[in-house]
């Protein structure tokens, strides 16, 4: 399974006031909050960690069929600005994050080896859905392949696992 999540930083600033009282407490553990307040750019750290949680939640949701708002249970282990893992209910998932001027983008996998097999798809790709889970049908082999889609503001990203 794979998951992705993109944050349009300009839109996030407009939509959310992360400094609102109680906001961080609802979605970040004490350890994550420390990571945020001590970061050089706390705002970017908020969206960096958030995109990791969202990308992993997509996998968790698809694997378990459970729908819930559980940001605090998705615990970030921050190795660097671009690499980390997330622990949820005893299971570890791997994340790779890209920080650009205008967006922060995370890809998550259930196994580290999957990163090598992930390719981008473009916005014109025909995407099917079953129970809300997106997939594409390979035109040659007719095999269904899992995809993950994320869209926020000016940005759209789709990934497929080969």
């Amino acid at each position: 399974m794979i998951g992705n999540d993109i944050v349009d930083l300009a839109l996030a600033r407009k939509e959310s006031n992360w400094q609102r009282k109680g906001f961080l407490d609802k979605i970040f553990t004490k350890k994550e909050q420390l990571q945020i307040v001590t970061a050089q750019n706390p705002e970017n750290m908020v969206w960096n960690l958030w995109s990791r949680k969202e990308a992993v939640y997509k996998i968790y949701n698809r694997e378990t069929g459970i729908r819930a708002f559980i940001p605090l249970e998705l615990e970030c282990f921050y190795e660097s600005g671009t690499i980390g893992t997330i622990l949820i209910k005893g299971k570890t998932y791997f994340t790779q994050t890209k920080i650009e001027n205008y967006f922060i983008y995370t890809i998550a996998c259930a196994e580290k080896e999957y990163f090598k097999q992930i390719k981008s798809i473009d916005i014109g790709t025909k995407i099917n859905k079953r129970n809300g889970i997106p997939f594409v049908i390979d035109s040659n082999s007719k095999i269904e392949k899992t995809v993950s889609i994320s869209h926020h503001g000016r940005f759209w990203k789709g990934i497929i696992i080969e």
Partner: protein
Amino acid sequence: MNKQEIIEELKAIVKPYIQNQEAFDTLTEETDFINDLKINSANLVDVILDIEEKYNIVIDNESMERMVNVKAAMTIIETQLSEKK
């Protein structure tokens, strides 16, 4: 406070965050905050904080997990309010 009153108050709370007007106009107990109203998940935190402020209640993590649709939000509000009495 009856169910209809809570629904109306909830509508006022979620209004600033919705991205699907049609689903908002036809909102029922079954309406899903994310799938139907297209509220982004970071804004779901604002909905939760707005509810806490409006009713002067605390939504614990366990309740927050269930907060994905109107029905769950109503149940949580009703339970919390009845405990306060």
